[in-house]
């Protein structure tokens, strides 16, 4: 794919280039106006936006290069100092970021994989199979968009503390526990503790309404004839999913993976709640502990330079993911924007 193609991806909005022909060399008509003054104004506005976005990032980087004294001096120094590597090392080793990075990666990859799998298979069931529960299920999934983790965090914690609790409740209500106890004398007590485990970090984050929705929208753009052609060729539903839908939804997967990687990398509240064993700690929580307050500095001068160095370290993986996935990411979102 050439650079010219990339700039055209916006023009491909109306034409799903994976399903239809790739008209790679054609420029989009319309929307292209030749007005120098307007162009200038547009660029000025864009530049202002860029400065507003990048300046805080620069401040972070700048602070990370200063010494403890410099970072706390007034007025704030706006030119980089020479303490960058010192600060980075200090942040990395003082908080054991190595282990945290591995943990966060495991969680992020687990969440991303889980989300893509669940979203894909759910949307597949919703779009390609005609059954009575189609609409209710879709709306049920859709409703969960309104219930982010923060809202349901207490019940989720209860479940994580014993993932089999709902089943236990069912057994108790239905009288099966009582039956088993009176017949065999065994007390049924199901328990599966997810606290302080990777499973516990990953599972509650895996369900995704956004992803399901994204996939549903994409699947609905698949022409009926393609489904029928696959039927005629003898491909069953799972084969159709694996060999035709999944390859076709590569860009969707990339888009979803990018968003969800950043999302799970940045998870703070949930890990903070369920992880007490530091060997399962994740970067976001650890970063929080770097932020100077009376606890961490013991009333000494706030070491913002170290905190900012830590911030830089933690920001790198999401940035890398976005940079490498950007091309696919944009196409994946554009294609569903119909």
């Amino acid at each position: 794919m050439t650079q010219a193609d990339l700039s055209l991806s916006a023009a491909a909005t109306l034409e799903d280039d994976r399903v239809r022909a790739v008209r790679s060399t054609r420029r989009s008509p319309g929307m292209v106006e030749n007005t120098p003054l307007l162009n200038l104004a547009t660029h000025v506005i864009l530049l202002m936006g860029m400065v507003m976005l990048l300046f805080p990032m620069y401040l972070v980087f700048n602070a990370a290069t200063l010494s403890l004294v410099e970072v706390n001096s007034q007025p704030t120094r706006l030119t980089p100092g020479d303490q960058f590597w010192v600060n980075i090392q200090e942040a990395w080793f003082s908080r054991d970021f190595g282990q945290k990075f591995i943990n966060s990666l495991i969680v992020a990859v687990g969440v991303v994989t889980g989300k893509i799998f669940i979203a894909c298979i759910t949307a597949f069931g919703l779009v390609f199979f005609d059954h009575r529960l189609r609409k209710p299920i879709f709306w049920a999934v859709f409703l969960t968009l309104m219930l982010p983790l923060e809202v349901r965090i207490v019940p989720t914690y209860a479940v994580a503390a014993n993932a089999l609790q709902p089943f236990q409740a069912m057994l108790d209500w239905s009288g099966i526990s009582w039956l088993i106890r009176s017949v065999s004398g065994i007390e049924v007590a199901l328990e599966w503790n997810l606290l302080n485990s990777y499973t516990g970090l990953i599972l509650p984050l895996v369900a995704t309404a956004t992803g399901t929705f994204l996939y549903r929208q994409f699947f609905m753009t698949i022409p009926d004839e393609l489904v029928e052609a696959a039927k005629m060729d003898g491909a069953g539903p799972l084969r159709f999913l694996a060999e035709i839908l999944v390859p076709l939804s590569r860009t969707n997967i990339a888009a979803l993976a990018t968003i969800m990687f950043v999302y799970s990398w940045n998870q703070y509240l949930w890990p903070l709640l369920i992880i007490t064993d530091p060997s399962y700690g994740v970067v976001a929580v650890e970063l929080g502990k770097l932020v100077p307050d009376t606890n961490s500095t013991g009333g000494a001068i706030p070491n913002w330079n170290i905190a900012m160095a830590g911030t830089l370290i933690v920001t790198v993986p999401p940035i890398l993911v976005v940079v490498f996935m950007q091309r696919w990411f944009v196409r994946g979102l554009i294609n569903t924007d119909k």
Binding site: R20, V22, E225, E228, A229, D233, A235
Partner: protein, 367 residues
Amino acid sequence: MAKIDIRKVRKMYGKDEVIHGVDLRINKGEFVVILGPSGCGKSTLLRMIAGLEDISGGEIAIGGTVVNNLEPRQRGCAMVFQNYALYPHMTVAENIGYALKVAGMKKSDRLVKVAAVARSVGLEEFLDRKPGQLSGGQRQRVAMARAIIREPKVFLFDEPLSNLDAKLRVQMRHEIRRIHNRIKATSVFVTHDQHEGMTLADRMVIMNKGTIDQVGTPEDVYDRPATTYVAGFIGSPAMNFLDGQVDYDRGGVVLGDGTVMRLAKMPQVVNGTMVQLGLRPETLGLAGAGRGALDVTFEFAEELGSGRLYHVRHEDIPLTVMMAEKHRFTEGDRLSLVVNDATLHLFDAATGKRIEMTVMDRVKETA
């Protein structure tokens, strides 16, 4: 290769019946074209043969096996779709070979077969391309190759040429005919284009609102249309119709204004039957006023290159005449229609059914 038997087949969508008990037998190796306007049920019928639509009533048998409850893949049909329905992410070779891959054929065997089939449809240079990089005609060829490679018992075509431009359409039409002549698979081809139907078909099936009006060779259907619907649908420009009444005493059909259209042979109906007279534009001629069978007024002419299409009126009835000769008439010219009475078609006005004519005329008259 197999015959297809369609017995009393019905299709309901909810409470609406769109196909009303169709009977049809398609012989082994035959090329049958199902022709009709959009919404007549022709595609639905084809899709029921393919297994893409449920059969609401009756049964369909392919090669003697009733297939009502078989999955599409078990029916041994291959289908070419209107929009080609190629897999966009697969190369031409993968597209063509996909059915074999699903069937579990080894990759090496598959490649050999794909190459052979691709060569037969002129695609060998494009095997590594994606469908997006092909022209419409080439994509159509891939769709054909994908069907051919399975060596199906039955080929099904769902308006496969309607997305191509006029020139390519003719080319692909010839190609389809050539392929059929070579592999002789039973083929069912659905189209709304009568030229496609006439040129491709061994036999044509004309459908109208969920029923079959006529089954016959293209020649049959053109020469002896079974209903006014078929008569009006087949032939271009369309057939002219005149209302009248059979009158044996005056030796023909009396039109509304009293003009008598003489018939060479007498129809097998009782005297006084209300009829519709069908006149094909290409069998008619024009002459000076009073010299032909029917007085007409000239309106305008359309140039066809090889001839002209003259639009005239008799009373309020518009008529078209196609002639190779190019005359210059002006609007309002009084002319008359020259009719070759051997080429007239007669239909019962009440039922729309064709009325046969015989030379044993006077018998009826006296009876």
